[in-house]
């Protein structure tokens, strides 16, 4: 269930009808209720309320998987035993399969390998049941942890179609000669020293196709096609004060024809500048701005800054994703809800930082400083 497909009225109705979890409730029912609450949680308080409810449940949030484990081990043992018996030509097994052949008329080899195959299927069945049960708790704790991290940083998941539509509006995003697409977008708001703004954090996945032609001794040519995949990430925001500039190293776009070099040799070693016209760059790249950008290249690997003709800014880096969300806490003795729901609740209340995102937001704040005084 995702809140994007439901209207607010429906969400409120569902929340109102959900029963409160009490310690007498079965863990299966409790997890179902918590999962719905976690998916519908629209604020940090609602996330914390679910964590608190899990703590008040009073016992580890763990499904009974004895039946599944028994079935798994029994099935695995049976599969191996029957397969070995068939493979080694065990006399008893051979007698039994011959007997089956005599009764049914079906060749004994079908029974011989059929039995281990059947037990293998049963093992798979029990393994799936066991995984699904484990996954339910992992999904619940993962959803809560991710939402806590997002809401703490004033972020939420975005519509990938809307953000993906930006891909042709920036030269920086036109990477990859085979394919490219945006995934995992998030939107957020940031209150900086100089101004406050709304941004979209995105992840660009692009694929380069390389063709390599070889000719053999007979003169026949063969083309080998290889694909290399890359990830870059960054943020997009509105920046109306400057238009048509691109600062990057190692990737140039034809959208901005005019090259420009500021006076700083240190800057020119790290970034190449191009603009719709060099006047915009000359005005933008004051000595203070140049120094700030030099520092930024040390903080942000693979830095690229672009402001398109619509006044939208993009700041990109080499990280595969700037939005680092916490994963499932499974196996962690201090915060796995299967071991300690109190520990998990405390884990939700810790401060989740985004160390890869913070420098990009700080840079966007500083770049606007001359215009927001």
């Amino acid at each position: 269930m995702t809140t994007e497909t439901l209207d607010q009225k429906t969400i409120d109705n569902i929340k109102a009808k959900l029963p409160e979890v009490n310690p007498k409730m079965s863990v299966e029912k409790a997890v179902k209720i918590w999962t719905i609450r976690a998916e519908l949680a629209g604020s940090l308080d609602e996330v914390y309320a679910v964590g608190q409810s899990m703590e008040e449940y009073g016992r580890p949030i763990k499904f009974d998987t004895k039946q599944e484990k028994f079935g798994l081990w029994t099935g695995a043992f049976s599969t191996i035993s029957f397969a070995y018996a068939m493979y080694s030509g065990n006399d008893i097994y051979g007698f039994l399969t011959a007997l089956a052949e005599a009764y049914t008329g079906v060749e004994r080899v079908w029974f011989g390998w059929g039995a281990p195959a059947l037990f293998a299927l049963l093992t798979l069945f029990w393994w799936r049941r066991y995984s699904n049960k484990e996954y339910e708790v992992s999904y619940l704790s993962g959803t809560l942890a991710k939402k806590a991290a997002l809401y703490q940083n004033h972020m939420k998941a975005s519509d990938v179609k809307v953000v993906g539509g930006q891909i042709n509006k920036f030269g920086e995003l036109r990477r990859g000669n085979h394919d490219r697409y945006i995934r995992n977008p998030f939107s957020g708001s940031y209150r900086g020293r100089h101004w406050s703004f709304i941004y979209e954090a995105y992840r660009l996945h692009y694929i380069d196709e390389h063709r390599h032609e070889t000719t053999d001794m007979n003169g026949q040519s063969e083309t080998e096609i290889t694909y290399k995949e890359y990830d870059r990430s960054g943020i997009m925001l509105s920046f109306p004060w400057v238009k048509g500039i691109h600062l990057c190293r190692g990737f140039e776009t034809t959208l901005y024809p005019a090259p420009y070099k500021p006076a700083s040799m240190q800057f020119n070693q790290r970034l190449h500048c191009r603009g719709a016209d060099d006047t915009a760059l000359a005005r933008f790249l004051t000595p203070k701005m140049v120094e700030r950008l030099i520092r930024a290249t040390e903080e942000i690997p693979g830095l690229c800054i672009e402001v398109n003709q619509n006044g939208q800014m993009l700041i990109a880096c080499n990280h595969d994703h700037v939005v680092a969300l916490p994963h499932d806490t499974k196996g962690d003795k201090e915060c796995d809800p299967r071991i300690t729901p109190e520990g998990f609740n405390a884990f939700l209340h810790q401060t989740f930082t985004m160390p890869r995102l913070a420098p990009l937001l700080k840079l966007a704040d500083d770049l606007a400083a001359p215009y927001t005084r």
Partner: protein
């Protein structure tokens, strides 16, 4: 063509290549220094444009008029002496020292006259001057870095051989804030 001749020709080509690239590298570094110096001048002249307005703002306050007015006039004159193409770190030091004195004088005037301190125009001008000083500071740091690269180019071996015979460039002085270093007890022996 025997092997010795080939080795000799290749060596000559390698040496020529080195000489040409080093010569051009020194020329490029020198031009970068000149460009950075021009950038410092641009920022200083920008400051000069704000100073007359500042002069008008404080001119009403007769007690400090003479001192601050004289300081501003002298500062404008000193900025006018800066020449493009020829980095003059000593002149820049004089200007920066004078700027600091003038700004201190204006700060004292501001403290003594509350209505001047409260004036929006005066606040705006002080803000612009402060911002301009920061831009000048950044431009000077960029200039110093370019000077360091240039000086390294002409002093490092074997670039210094090419410089002594061909470019004949001299070391450029970096900007140092004499006023700031006066306050330190320790001075490095360099």
């Amino acid at each position: 063509m025997d092997l010795n001749t080939i080795i000799g020709l290749v060596s000559i080509v390698v040496v020529l290549f080195f000489v040409v690239t080093t010569y051009n590298g020194i020329v490029n570094a020198k031009n970068a220094v000149k460009r950075a110096w021009a950038s410092v001048l641009v920022q200083e002249r920008q400051k000069n444009k704000i100073l007359p307005e500042l002069q008008d703002a404080v001119s009403r306050y007769s007690e400090f008029e003479e001192k601050v007015q004289t300081g501003i006039t002298e500062l404008r004159s000193e900025v006018g002496k800066l020449k493009e193409g020829t980095p003059d770190a000593e002149q820049l030091e004089t200007i920066e020292a004078l700027s600091n004195r003038v700004l201190k004088g204006i700060q004292l005037t501001m403290e003594a006259y509350p209505d001047l301190k409260a004036s929006d125009l005066f606040q705006k001008l002080m803000h612009e001057i402060t911002e301009q000083q920061e831009q000048i500071g950044a431009a000077i740091r960029i200039f110093n870095y370019n000077v360091e690269v240039f000086n390294n180019q002409i002093q490092n071996f074997p670039n210094n051989i090419v410089n002594n015979f061909l470019n004949k460039e001299k070391e450029v002085q970096t900007f140092t804030d004499a006023g700031a270093s006066e306050g330190f007890e320790y001075t490095p022996n360099i």
